[in-house]
């Protein structure tokens, strides 16, 4: 049950895709493809925003510390002072963790939306989350006491296997593998795996443990996690940016992409590999934080058009900002009490998304 409504949620996304495909929404976006100046401006502004967010969120926390203490804790860490420990070992890793995870989910979402040509896609849609959760549930039920690193490997494996399975299933359909079939196969497979996970969890009485796993949160992030996480995520994002051109072409439609001389299947598979890397790594540390991958690329596209060379880096920074603030809210609404990160993301994300939807002028 963990994230109830998952099935319906996925099915709705398929429908949106179908409606969307009737029109070519990217036509007017094409005009925005030029304008590097605006992009640099937005990127600078976003980076500045990230810097401010980092500054504010590091400065304030459940424990009331003076600014000078906080920043001497960051730059002149003395392991014997309690306040330095608070800043260095609890606040800093969790904020950096939030930033990294936000980046990863946002970029994964952006790639998903480009590759599937579905503006409502995120990592949930190709069964990436469902696959990794399913394997994690299997591990809980049949191989308890697995070490953390082994569990991460299994979770990667689940995500990758599911993606391969969906690709194969999508290709089985009459005609070539296209974005629509991919999305539908993904949504249905995700729904099936999701219900299998629920069944196993209920049968083996694991369900509340899994609810926690699902709720998402960065409070437990440590420097050790960051040392593993940071290289994977940053490399994957660099890779993603380097593929931005191909993804933009693909997002214009398969025919167009092929006319432009793009190896469609290759780009698709590489894109999904990046997604598996990003999502697998961040889910293993923070759980499945929803909505970031859906909403952030939307904003980025609104700002700078449809060129994924620009969408991906901008999404990365915006995603980091969103999660930093969501985590900040989770800590600071009623300190020292804490709230679940996922709920905070939704609280920020839902109104904003509604605003976007209200502005949606199209009437089918």
């Amino acid at each position: 049950m963990f994230m109830y409504g998952k099935n319906e949620y996925l099915i709705m996304k398929m429908i949106i895709l179908i409606i969307w495909n009737r029109e070519d929404q990217y036509k007017d976006g094409m005009r925005k493809m030029e304008g590097n100046f605006a992009f640099v401006l937005y990127l600078l502004a976003a980076t500045a925003g990230l810097a401010v967010s980092l500054f504010v969120s590091i400065s304030y926390g459940a424990k009331d510390l003076t600014l000078s203490t906080v920043w001497s804790g960051v730059f002149h860490y003395n392991p014997d002072i309690t306040s330095h420990q608070i800043v260095h070992d609890i606040r800093l890793p969790r904020i950096l963790g939030a930033a990294l995870v936000g980046m990863a989910f946002a970029v994964a979402g952006a790639i998903m939306q480009g590759v599937t040509r579905n503006p409502m896609a995120d990592t949930g849609i190709l069964g990436v989350n469902a696959g990794s959760t399913f394997v994690v549930v299997l591990c809980f039920a049949f191989l308890p006491n697995l070490s953390y690193s082994v569990l991460i490997v299994f979770s990667f494996l689940g995500a990758a296997l599911t993606t391969v399975m969906i690709l194969a299933l999508g290709s089985l359909s009459p005609g070539r593998l296209n974005a629509l079939h991919l999305t539908i196969a993904g949504a249905v497979v995700a729904a099936i795996l999701h219900s299998f996970s629920t069944g196993i969890a209920i049968y083996f009485a694991l369900s509340q443990d899994l609810a926690f796993w699902y709720a998402g949160g960065v409070a437990g992030v440590t420097w050790e996690h960051l040392r593993v996480l940071a290289p994977i995520i940053i490399l994957a994002i660099v890779w993603a940016v380097s593929m931005g051109r191909s993804i933009s072409f693909l997002s214009l439609g398969e025919e167009t992409a092929m006319n432009l001389g793009l190896r469609v299947q290759y780009v698709r598979i590489m894109g999904l590999t990046i997604v598996v890397l990003l999502a697998g790594a961040s889910v293993s540390v923070a759980g499945a934080v929803g909505f970031v991958g859906l909403i952030v690329p939307h904003i980025a596209r609104k700002l700078i058009g449809v060129d994924y060379r620009k969408i991906i880096p901008l999404s990365a920074i915006l995603g980091a900002i969103l999660l930093i603030w969501a985590d900040f809210a989770a800590r600071m609404v009623n300190p020292p009490r804490e709230f679940a990160l996922g709920a905070m993301v939704s609280l920020v994300g839902v109104p904003f998304f509604l605003y976007l939807a209200r502005k949606e002028r199209r009437s089918l």
């Binding site: 420990q85 608070i86 606040r91 926690f212 409070a219 679940a340």
Partner: protein, 310 residues
Amino acid sequence: MKSKLSLIGVLALIITILSACGGQAKSNSTSEGASAGDVQQVDPNSKIASMSIHMTNNLLALGIKPAGSAIGGGVGDFLPHVKDMLQGTVKLGVVTEPDMEAVLALKPDYIFIEEQFGGQDRAKLEKIAPVVSMDLDQGTWRDQLKQVAAVVGKSKVADEFVKAYDEKTTRVRKLISDELGSNAKVMAIRVSAKELRVMSTSRPVGPIMFEDLQLTPAIGVDKIAEDEPYEVISKEVLPDFDADAIFLIVNDDDNAKKAYNELEKNPLWENLKAVKNNHVYTLDGQKWLDYSSLGQSMAMDDMEQLLAKQ
């Protein structure tokens, strides 16, 4: 038009059949079935079905093994710490979804339920055997135990149980003050996969720690709202509690254990007064979180063992 008429006909038929079924069931209930009434006395050696895990624990504390018992919903089985004592007992389903057929198959002499038990389910049980209903939400576990004991005529056993508990408590209190000195400030923490919970002074662990063992709550523990069993708290303020000893419950799942391993390695944790002085006691969570006579008594035993080991 024809189809409409036939549709109405079919519907009417269905309704008639259904009402017939319901009616039949009702007429059965009046003609047969044991009379319930208010059962005041129950022979402790009779075949008892307990439809609540709290009731089962109270019966076990009195030395009565029920022939059948409800199971815990979370674990889908008898609670781990009493499972050994319930060998041979029939599982009667989760309290919210009792397995009526299993109860019927058991053919119990009496069925023990809690007052809050669902109305329809109660009516069904009453047709199987006399139902003994008690309100186990009121009062302390001592009151609840005595209430059950009065019905099965084991009040003496209950008194002895409470007396034994009090003696144990006195011993443990002495062990604690030997270890921590008097007036030590104590807090209880529960670690789950994603959260760090500080337990409040109310149930389940408040009464045993702060009333029975007369420990002093660490700074801020008494500020947690009375009706909340715990509060989720930021690690940043752990040092502020300034606890001399920490009672620790780690949830029984892999993620929680990993979360605790991470916490243990954190310099902030390592520098807590209680950690430095080696005054962190990892409790057997199931016993401490079970606010029943048996659970609390087992929790006290757990504490005694932990201190004896030191």
